[in-house]
Amino acid sequence: MNVIVCIKRVPDTETRIRVAASGTAIDPAGVKYIVSPYDEFALEAALRLKESGGAAEVTAMTLGDPAAAEQLRSALAMGADRVVRLEGEPGPDGLATARVLAAELASADAGLVLFGVKAVDDDQQQIGPMVATLLDRPCVTAVAEFALEGDRVVCHREVDGGIEIVDVPLPAVVTITKGSYEPRYASLKGIMAAKKKPLEEKPAASVPARLELLRLELPPERPAGRILGEGPDAVPELVRLLREEAKVL
């Protein structure tokens, strides 16, 4: 069985976001880009599956502009066998992105397609289950850990109030959250090997976007707060303010 992991190039989570002059994008000046952390967990999960004999080949795929090659190289360095870049840019319409990916995945030979539970740039948290629904495959979301059991995949989902354990038949789509799959560091050997491996590039299906980003805005600054004092003696005043001023107790 082959596994395809869909990854996304996103700004580092330590990035201070500034809005570009267009008002609909971030200012890319000085921004460092990474593989979205949840996608890294997904890739790690795929690599471990391969190492334990559960998967034959691991492919990392992205929809992105040429700069996303950097993230595909990272995936190769971690141990992916193949990488594919679909030429295009994921926009605010998640369903359009899902359609592009589904068009490619429909004919791909993959028993398991993994996604990060969400990309940490636009936080849409919708692409995986949309792709699965479009392909009419089962999908389990927010999975902290999974294992193959015959022709099914057993998943531990992180849900409100606990862990839910479900299973679905293969082929399936699974979205991975933080849990058991702390990503490995790429070895020097892996990094060197990654430079020699081919990077496949393909045109993406053309899907019109129907969700439009009108404006990107920074949140209002919170008004300056007050330091009430030092140590436990400041507690009674804090409790009084929480009750009488903020009215939250």
Binding site: E158, I165, R215, P219
Partner: protein, 325 residues
């Protein structure tokens, strides 16, 4: 007429708090569009008695879809039923709660209906007769205003952001016959985590960071959580989750949950940018840190400089005293 469908989540036969918020948000949206709200509640037999409350919070009609196959949330069954209801009703908008269930369900319904979805929305407006959504991106470091050119307009709303209030006119509760799909997801087991209130839905969050020094010290935070009582959940910074001190489910920040409780306690948390992103939309923020220059004090409404192992137990004690007074 522009009707709005509110998907009202229940758990074990009881309405979730987020369900009332969805109905309330739908009522405001419907008022802007010049239409009415229908609330859809799906579940096993016996649901009808539990969801009548929705009629007091702005739903003109409460559609109750009881079926054995809906007793437990199985995504294919729920997605099929909601998509069918949305199609049959000819709604202008369909709203979900961005809970664990809503986050799983809404994208599937969007794909079935072939319309885009705005997730985790914090504000809804009507502009030129069409809905418009504001949603946080980069975990709240920025907000995106989005508009859909497709119909119905689909959105999931963030818990604890939309106000719900009882309305004067009460709606009617009706039986609804749900369309049942073919579930391929097989439920095996649910393991409840203690504390039970999810940090993403809690009205008060007590969060600990590296300043807690040792995972064994968490009893100090549990004591404060218990003093606050119902609706209070524990949270954690990335540093302590990465260190294995606390489960990821508690993590607040860009690679964890983005939360908007009424009250947020940041205890021994310095305030890394990715953590601030996840909690800055909280109503009131309280910080306790021994470093007076910690960035957390820049976003906190109230701060105390000091040893949290002295401050927090006193805080728990004072809050308990309020309850007795």
């Amino acid at each position: 007429m522009s009707k709005v469908l509110a998907v009202a989540e229940q758990k074990d036969g009881a309405l979730r708090g987020a369900a009332l918020e969805v109905v309330a948000a739908a009522a405001d949206l419907a008022a802007g569009l010049g239409g009415e709200v229908h609330a859809l509640s799906l579940g096993g037999p016996g649901l009808q008695g539990a969801v009548g409350e929705l009629a007091q919070f702005g739903a003109a009609r409460v559609l109750v879809g009881e079926h054995d196959a809906l007793a437990r949330y199985l995504p294919e069954n729920y997605a099929t039923a909601v998509a069918a209801a949305a199609r049959e009703g000819g709604y202008a908008a369909v709203l979900f709660a961005a809970t664990s269930q809503g986050k799983d369900l809404a994208p599937r319904v969007a794909a079935l209906l072939d319309v885009p979805l705005a997730t985790d929305v914090t504000a809804l407006e009507v502009e030129d007769g069409a809905p418009l959504a504001v949603r946080p991106v980069f975990a709240g470091k920025a907000f995106a205003r989005v508009r859909s050119s497709a119909s119905p307009f689909l959105a999931s709303i963030r818990p604890n952001v939309f106000q719900c209030q009882e309305r004067e006119a009460a709606g009617v509760v009706e039986t609804f016959t749900p369309t049942i799909g073919e579930a391929r997801t097989r439920f095996r087991e649910f393991r409840a985590v203690e504390g039970t209130v999810d940090v993403g839905e809690a009205t008060v969050v007590v969060s600990g960071g590296r300043g807690m020094k040792d995972p064994a010290q968490w009893s100090v935070l549990e004591e404060l959580r218990d003093a606050v009582g119902t609706g209070c959940a524990l949270g954690a910074s990335r540093a302590v989750v990465d260190a294995g001190w606390r489960p990821h489910g508690e993590q607040v920040g860009q690679t964890g949950k983005t939360v908007s409780p009424k009250l947020y306690f940041a205890l021994g948390i310095s305030g890394a940018i990715q953590h601030l992103a996840g909690m800055r939309t909280s109503g009131t923020i309280v910080a306790v840190n021994k470093d007076p220059d910690a960035p957390i004090f820049k976003v906190a409404d109230y701060g105390i400089v000091g040893d949290l192992f002295e401050v927090v137990p006193r805080l728990a004690q004072e809050i308990r005293a309020l309850g007795r007074g």
